[in-house]
Amino acid sequence: MNKKLALRVGAAVLSLAFVASACSSDKKADDPNCGDIHIGFVGALTGANGALGTNMVHGAQIAIDEYNATQKSCKTKVSLIQKDSQGDPKVAPPLATALVDDKSVVGLIGPGFSGETKATMPTFEAAGLPMITPGATNAKLSTNGWKMFHRILANDDKQAPGIVSYLKTAGAKTVAVIDDASEYGKGLADSVRSGLGALKTADATIDPKASDFGAAVSAMKTANADYIFYGGYYAEAAKLVTQLRDAGVKSVFMSGDGSLDPAFITAAGKNGEGAILTATGAPSDVNPAFSASFKAKWATDPLLYSPEAYDCAKVFLAGLAAGKTTRADLAAFVSAYDAPGITKQIKFDATGEPAGSAVYSYVVKDGKLVSLGLIK
């Protein structure tokens, strides 16, 4: 998921405008002199996407607070060392070096985005510092043979199998697939097409610069499929679903994270009702207990990537609780980890990707996005 898209998804999931947190200046929540063990964080805390990194830090801090509450001795308490990369791949590398040089840092949450992850991963790999990213979803990141690389959420390429799986589980007999000829839209739609095989009964490509999708609408009317999957962004998705409904097409409308935006619901209105949207990020309100603690500490509901960051921190903290206090021990512990988190069962495959499905589906109901949970 790219950064802009990530922002949109966040807004969609929460239906709330991001509020730059007043707590972002609070770089070290705990006294750094208390305790010898630190978990690092690299990500955007300021800048255009500063809200996303702040969401991550806030989520992780909840897990750390929970852990520290169980530790009687000040020595064994853990704190988070935060480095603000502004989400910039050029800013992140020196921060990564600083973290690696600090031997008290045994694990890393982040980096937040794909670009900075790509730029800093060699540093972490060389230092043997295990990391788990709560937000970098570029599929190629796990193909470099990096032993230290882990991510808690599905990568961009996992969305299509999730969508196909959703359609098959829902019992779709016929699916029509439309794309917008963009790199993202066509890429996602083509993956869905090949995943569907014979279930895919019709195709169309629209021109996102145009406003009239008459040809695609006619083809969909003829196809009369159970589902229509659209690979593209929310603006065209809203226009497309409106024109489909105007023409009397009754197929269930489905789209990916590019359409997961409140603007889709606003623009499509009643025509958007019943639309199924998917995303790799967990709904921010995935766990009520977490939501309650989060709200108590930060005076806001959890936001995009907060639950993921909480799960990342939980993995490291479980390792520390088990006495794995060196980087090497913790790295081995993370690779073998297999326990339920709040977003999903947390288990990593050999490349550091989450094992099993990790795509969430949502339905538009009464003008709101309602989570349908993980796609089986």
Partner: protein
Amino acid sequence: MWLLAVAKTTFHFDDLINGFWDITISGLVLGAIYALVALGYTLVYGVLRLINFAHSEVWMLGAFGSFAALWGFGVPTRLANGNDPTKTGLVLVGMLLACLLVSMLFSGIAAVVVETFAYRPLRRKKAPRLNFLIAAIGASFILAELVGINGAKHREEYTLQRIFEKKIVFHLFSGQVRLNQVIVLVVALGMMLGLSKFVSSTRTGRGIRAVAQDGETARLMGVNTDRIILITFIVGGMMAGAAAFFFEITYGVARFNTGFQIGVKSFTAAVLGGIGNIRGAYVGGILLGLIELYTSVIFADQKMGTVSAFVVLVLVLMFRPNGLLGESLSAARA
């Protein structure tokens, strides 16, 4: 690479056959919109030998006229219960009429502004032809950016309130003809006939034809050419405004740069039919709309529709360089 793409193309003739009447109706609606916008290009070209590239923005402002009318009536985007603010009966007819008239007014005023501030000063100074072209492009940018910068939603897309349900009025063979499509086709046809009549039978229409034939001689014969040119802009602008209204009741979206696509297509329609020829604009517009829809369905790709439309244009111009019907406004026929 290109050959490979062609070889890999699959054709969807079955989709075209199965959905033929629906596609045809959609094509006619789009074609009618192109035709009315093309009129503006053709009329101005007829009298001034100038491609008015600001015409697409004249159209865009007309689209916002429909929004302005509904905002003026205080129609909300959605009712509190999330439903569309649907109107019925005379209220609906009145609102639609108001949208049409305000759209025509907006476009008409925009056309007057373009003529008065961009072209007339250049004409007075007998500026070279290229200057008009630059002025046209400049005016186009100014109008689009004014909306993009000062509009309530700036560069975002606006969605028109849906004041009526697009009910099926009747079936044409296997095709469904919906209320908005009936409105577009009937009113557009009426406007086309009315305009032809205006140009062929009224005193002002005769003036337009006279200026088109020979501006200098027309002036010597006592025709107020500046007035005629202004009227030509107003008429072309109003037709674009009507087209914008039709576009809005069909697609219901607008943004500061929507004019570009429609402008390019409509200009193409005007050239296809024979620029300067009023009937040519009608024929070109309708043909372009149909070709685009048919080929988009055959290739299952909207961009191929555009490609095909231009291939047809090139082929037509190879054999008929003046377009299908040739240039006739100046030939004193309309």
